[in-house]
């Protein structure tokens, strides 16, 4: 699978990344190599094989819906890059 620099641009945009020209070229080469190696998986017959997303049987874990103490708002906001009036501040998203 050869990936072209234009495709890298599309993948980067899905990944919310902005790449410089030389990064696009580098990643096109590297991703192509990795995906070419991955093509070998097609040598294995997996007809009728169930996919395994998780090795353990994963069950939803329920608990009683009761109020429990949580961390203070100030403590949680302390790591935020921008804060105003006890809220996370972000650029305007609705005109």
């Amino acid at each position: 699978m050869k990936i072209k620099p234009e495709e890298i641009e599309y993948i980067a945009s899905l990944s919310r990344l902005k790449l410089a020209e030389e990064e696009r070229e580098m990643y096109a080469v590297h991703l192509s190599q990795i995906l070419e190696h991955a093509e070998r998986l097609n040598e294995l017959n997996t007809d009728g094989v169930e996919p395994t997303a998780h090795v353990l049987p994963v069950h939803n874990v329920f608990r009683e819906d009761e109020v429990r103490p949580s961390l203070e708002r100030e403590i949680l906001l302390a790591n935020a890059p921008d804060v105003e009036n006890g809220c996370f501040k972000v650029p305007k998203i609705v005109e």
């Binding site: 993948i11 990944s15 990795i34 070998r40 169930e50 395994t52 090795v55």
Partner: protein
């Protein structure tokens, strides 16, 4: 002998007998760090003041006649992807350079409950993505056996710190070999427990179905003691398994008579260095002399594990790392036009090159049109690999293989060739794919004096048998007693 040279169980015995104080142990290790850290660079953050304060507290408890649990009072260190309340947890990334967690990871809390003295946070590949610790945004850790070489990765700081006696033990995390491979390259003991045995709460997520926390230690006894301290069900991690966990110290039996060892031939094929092969074969022969039976076997899907691993791990990473958006915590770009631009600039400036590569690989493997061909195919191959292990364990108690196909490589040698770097994990990734426990123990040295690791793989939740084999091997060899500075 210098105090910092002791194993954790030796140091704890002395502490218990009041032959040394926690402060003496802590000061000895801090002094030693001051001597060697300039060369080794294991630590991202050292909390001398906090460590000495904690050591004093432990000494007060001891003076009052209170007993402390094993490992209490010993200066130790944690890989920098596990949350430590009030102490920066960076994942060796610009993205989290200023992140101060408001809570402790469950493993950190468990160690604190045992009165461990936490000395600091250890260097790693950025977000645990890498096999050499070179992708760290902050520094390059050196291999204590040869400072021109990498310590392995991603828990390279954790392995180098133990090898250089900069901590009595450390914690690492293992997604595709990130505890075992650096343990092998640095000549220490490293274990990846069964998926679900140790809580991942507070471990910064890389690939959630593969990540597992485990010990890096000076010998197998220390490894078992650390495992005792960190295993167990945790309501904060829905994938942690609620079962009875044994006392792993009682698994340390110097006897392998009658144990059945399988030796999967695929682990000795392409790319495995001859000196590594012969050290591992010598180890298997020794175990045979000690009474174990071994047999060649085959796990034919092994050759496909690496590709399946990089697709699955990258897919999960692309999703897990979506949270770094510059809003709630972490880095935010200084200048941007709008919300989307803020996301893009924040992530492009905050993440390093390898992290971006994995996010894009994972995004591609999950994207419309490629999902079935790459991600779903990899999950089906995961089923095949898991079933082959299951079948093998119907016949064998443990499987034995090399941990890493080569010994430590030179700094810079593979960093610009992702496929060459990924090949470092070829012997370790199948274990994560199947969620099994495995340990790496020192089993020899190559002609350059660099350590070689023996990998012992067990059935799910049968850490006891791999510890027994590792312990018996260790008791009948002296590789673990060799120190880097004595061979220089």
């Amino acid at each position: 002998m210098e105090l910092y040279r002791l194993t954790a169980h030796e140091a704890y015995d002395k502490l218990k007998k009041r032959e040394v104080s926690s402060k003496e142990l802590t000061e000895a290790v801090i002094k030693h760090i001051e001597d060697v850290e300039e060369d080794i660079q294991s630590y991202i953050h050292i909390d001398i003041e906090g460590a000495l304060k904690k050591a004093d507290e432990v000494d007060c408890l001891l003076a009052k006649g209170e007993t402390i649990e094993p490992l209490g009072g010993l200066p130790i260190a944690i890989k920098d992807n596990m949350c430590t309340e009030g102490i920066n947890t960076t994942c060796a990334s610009r993205m989290l350079a200023n992140f101060v967690p408001p809570y402790d990871a469950t493993v950190v809390k468990k160690l604190k409950d045992r009165q461990a003295v936490i000395l600091g946070k250890l260097n790693m590949d950025e977000f645990a993505m890498g096999s050499s610790t070179e992708t760290s945004a902050f520094k390059k850790t050196k291999n204590p056996w040869d400072i021109r070489c990498v310590p392995g990765g991603s828990s390279g700081g954790s392995a180098a710190a133990v090898a250089a006696d900069e901590a009595f033990f450390t914690l690492g995390s293992d997604t595709g070999g990130s505890i075992r491979q650096p343990a092998s390259l640095c000549g220490v003991v490293g274990m990846k427990p069964t998926y679900g045995a140790v809580s991942r709460y507070g471990l910064v997520a890389f690939a959630s179905s593969l990540d597992q926390i485990g010990p890096l230690a000076k010998d197998v006894t220390d490894c078992a003691l650390v495992l005792n301290a960190i295993v167990g069900h945790d309501p904060h991690d829905s994938t942690s398994v609620n079962r009875r966990y044994p006392d792993y110290i009682s698994a340390l039996i110097n006897d392998v008579k009658g144990l059945k060892i399988g030796v999967p031939r695929e682990y000795f094929e392409s790319g495995v260095n001859d000196e590594v092969k012969s050290a591992v074969i010598n180890a298997i022969n020794l175990l045979k002399e000690l009474g174990a039976d071994y047999e060649d076997t085959s796990l034919p899907s092994t050759d496909y594990a690496l590709s399946a691993y990089y697709l699955i791990a990258s897919a999960e990473a692309s999703s897990n790392l979506g949270r770094y958006d510059g809003v709630k915590y972490g880095y935010r770009s200084a200048q941007y036009e709008d919300m989307i631009d803020m996301y893009k600039k924040t992530r492009s400036e905050g993440f390093g090159s390898e992290v971006k590569r994995r996010i894009m690989l994972g995004t591609y493997a999950l994207s419309s049109g490629y999902y079935d061909a790459y991600y779903l195919k990899a999950l089906k191959v995961r089923t095949l690999i898991t079933e082959e292990f299951k079948k093998a364990f119907d016949k064998y108690d443990v499987l034995i293989a090399p941990t890493s196909p080569t010994t430590a490589f030179k700094i810079g040698e593979r960093i610009n060739d992702p496929m060459a770097m990924y090949m470092s994990d070829v012997c370790t990734v199948p274990v994560n794919i199947a969620g099994l426990p495995a340990i790496s123990v020192p089993c020899g040295f190559d002609s350059n004096g660099l350590p070689i690791g023996l990998q012992i793989i067990g059935k799910a939740f049968d850490e006891e048998t791999i510890l027994r084999v590792a312990y018996c091997f260790e008791q009948n060899t002296a590789f673990h007693k060799q120190k880097p500075n004595e061979r220089r």
